[in-house]
């Protein structure tokens, strides 16, 4: 048993004698194999890295536009009207559908504009105050003109307008959230 082990050690010694041409050839081959393996390994890790980084590299999901109704419905607006739109928030493999209120109103030039009902102060939903002909936030009393411009109260800017588009005579709106407590409108998602 012991001599057996000695035999195999001798064999290894004989087969891997230092300085032999075989040894040099081996170290070259070894380098080649090492480099080759690293290269193949790197190549194989490409799909793995792409797979793992997918949520980071994917372009942010485009918020779909939600329909508000035919443009003609809003042609003779005298005061802001509220519409509820459904927005879809995708979170990986699941989605949540929530409802958001928006106002369709006219600016000073009589052009249609759509306002989010989220107060730019601290995010409360701002109702339309028919009696006062103003938007009045119930939380901290910020008031806004029918076209959304700031009148009084703690808000640093007027109500935020949303991007609109026309599709086959239908008014569409793209809902977005904006940073609160700042004087300039800034999209946050």
């Amino acid at each position: 048993m012991c001599s057996c082990a000695g035999d195999s050690e001798n064999t290894i010694r004989n087969l891997t004698a230092p300085g032999s041409s075989l040894d040099t050839r081996r170290s070259f081959l070894g380098t080649l194999l090492g480099v080759g393996s690293v290269f193949v390994g790197a190549l194989l890790s490409v799909p793995l890295i792409r797979f793992a980084l997918f949520p980071l590299l994917r372009r942010t999901t485009e918020l779909k536009s939600s329909p508000l109704g035919a443009l003609s419905e809003f042609s003779d607006l005298t005061e802001p009207v509220m519409r509820t739109i459904q927005i879809e928030q995708v979170d990986g493999w699941r989605k949540a559908i929530s409802e958001k209120a928006v106002y369709i109103t006219k600016d000073t030039q009589g052009q249609l504009r759509v306002l989010t009902s989220v107060c730019p102060h601290l995010g409360c939903t701002v109702p339309w105050g028919k009696e006062r002909n103003q938007f009045v936030c119930p939380c901290h009393g910020a008031t806004f003109a029918p076209d959304g411009t700031r009148v009084s109260g703690p808000s640093l800017r007027g109500m935020d307008t949303l991007e609109t588009s026309l599709q086959d005579g239908q008014l569409q709106v793209r809902f977005q959230y904006f940073r609160q407590l700042v004087s300039d409108k800034e999209v946050i998602g």
Binding site: L15, F51, T84, A96, S98
Partner: protein
């Protein structure tokens, strides 16, 4: 100086300088590498010996792809299929990695059969190699168990029904069968507990066993030494040895390269399909297992009632026991196949029986018009499902909000008031709560309508401090609002 002497005595000079020398002095990595590579193979390197390292490569590949797949997979009857669909249809390289993992299991079975056949035909289990063979047979069982448990995880029609049949087959085992089935399923029926069990077995239990057994298999292999060709003495090798490195390493790597290229091309050009989600109510679906389980599937068809004891318990047990105990039963030193007619005959018999059963199963399916038609339909359904874009799962919170509107007309009107009054601004959509104010879900269970009304008209001090204002709604509107609040559960 001392280490130089030691390295000289080892045969070739160890690199002493630089980073590699330092690393080696700290870890002994070079010695380890030499031990691994300078393994003498009696009779020299041969292509016949390449399958073991091929298996090791596939195993590592399965571990890596498997770990990455769990980045997105959720083991639950509700989400398993959605998450696999997400991996397959949305995530970059997801379909590729999933295909690689699934085809890897087939490759594993093929290479495993080749490795087993080579060991058997070469009589490489002889000569103090009983434990080596034994660990190999257990590994074989574990690989089949991995394939079985992994198959269910996508929770599509194919996975669900194949596993329903597979677990049912277990219940045919006399005495313990029913309990075994219930234990595998986590109940009498297949469900979310079945997925949990299969997932834990597939990801934790079985891999842990495989790691341990692969380590002992390699250890026992090195302890016994390579068996060499079948003309070699299994106890005391006599033929001129050649070291594992370089020629055998190159041969082994050629199989690895072949596997990488083969599996890569297959996964890329023929990605694995995912069928529609499991529908346990589908009575039409005809389940078929993966190809390597077809022989067993066909075999089980022949045994029913009292005879099942023979076909399902006795014969497989004898066969398994014979395979496991082979090195104990076959004690002769003879390794040349042509001198071992009984062993070779038994091998050929089992091989042809398995092949015959598998082919028979395919033949029966193709020649039964009803079955063939249904199988074709199932395939079409899978293809149709694959063409559809990924549809995210509707989260339960948004479902609850949507359902309220339909359920109770009073609550539906109340919801409009809830939003018009901007209650949702602080209490959140559907009363889920925000940082500004607590959730309203469950308030209806805590307070009666009278109390809620009182609180709305005259909020408590704590509520007022939190920013709640008294409601000035008309009584009838307040009633609707309360109906809505009470509906929030």
């Amino acid at each position: 100086m001392h280490s130089t002497q030691k390295s000289q005595s080892n045969g070739s000079a160890l690199p002493e300088k630089g980073l590699w020398g330092w690393l080696n002095r700290r870890t002994g990595l070079d010695t380890l590498l030499r031990t691994a590579l300078y393994e003498p193979i009696p009779g020299g390197a041969r292509l016949a010996y390449i399958f073991g390292s091929g298996l090791l490569f596939i195993f590592i590949s399965q571990v890596i792809t498997g770990v990455f797949l769990t980045l997105y997979y959720v083991p639950s009857a509700d989400h398993a299929h959605t998450t696999v669909a997400y991996i397959t249809k949305s995530v970059t390289a997801g379909s590729f990695l999933r295909s690689l993992h699934a085809y890897g299991s087939s490759a594993m079975v093929i290479v495993l059969l080749l490795h087993l056949s080579q060991t058997y035909i070469y009589g490489a289990y002889k000569g103090r190699r009983e434990l080596l063979w034994l660990s190999g047979t257990i590994l074989f069982g574990l690989v089949l168990a991995m394939a079985f448990t992994g198959y269910l995880l996508p929770w599509d029609q194919r996975a669900y029904f194949a596993t329903a049949v597979g677990t049912n087959a277990a219940s045919e085992i006399p005495w313990i069968g029913e309990s075994l089935k219930r234990m595998m399923r986590g109940g009498t029926e297949m469900g979310t507990l079945t997925i949990s069990r299969f997932f834990v077995a597939h990801v934790f239990f079985i891999p842990a066993c495989i790691f341990a057994l692969v380590a002992s298999h390699i250890f026992l292999f090195r302890k016994a030494g390579a068996a060499g060709p079948f003309t070699e003495n299994p106890f005391k090798p006599e033929q001129k040895p050649e070291l594992f490195y370089p020629r055998q390493v190159l041969m082994d790597l050629s199989l690895t390269a072949l596997l990488i290229i083969g599996l890569g091309l297959l996964a890329f050009f023929v990605p694995l399909q995912l069928g529609p989600p499991a529908n346990p109510a589908d009575a039409q679906y005809i389940p078929r297992p993966e190809w390597y389980y077809l022989p067993i599937f066909q075999w089980l068809k022949y045994w029913h009632g009292a005879a099942s004891l023979i076909g399902i318990l006795i014969i497989p047990t004898i066969l398994a026991a014979a395979i496991v105990a082979l090195p104990f039963l076959d004690r002769s030193v003879e390794r040349r196949p042509w001198k071992r007619p009984v062993a070779m005959g038994a091998y050929a018999f089992v091989l042809f029986a398995l092949l015959g059963l598998g082919l028979r199963s395919q033949y029966v399916d193709m020649h039964d018009p009803g079955v063939a038609q249904q199988l074709a339909k199932q395939k079409t359904e899978e293809e149709e499902y694959m063409r559809k874009p990924f549809e995210p799962e509707l989260s339960s919170s948004s479902l609850a909000a949507a359902n309220v509107a339909l359920a109770d007309p009073l609550a539906a009107k109340g919801k409009t008031i809830f939003e018009a009054q901007s209650c949702n601004a602080c209490h959140g959509d559907a009363g889920v709560g925000t940082t500004a104010a607590p959730k309203l879900i469950g308030v209806g269970a805590k307070f009666n309508a009278q109390k809620i009304k009182a609180l709305l008209r005259q909020p408590s001090t704590a509520m007022t401090q939190g920013g709640m204002t008294p409601s000035d709604l008309k009584d009838e509107d307040l009633k609707l609002l309360i109906a809505y609040i009470e509906s929030l559960k």
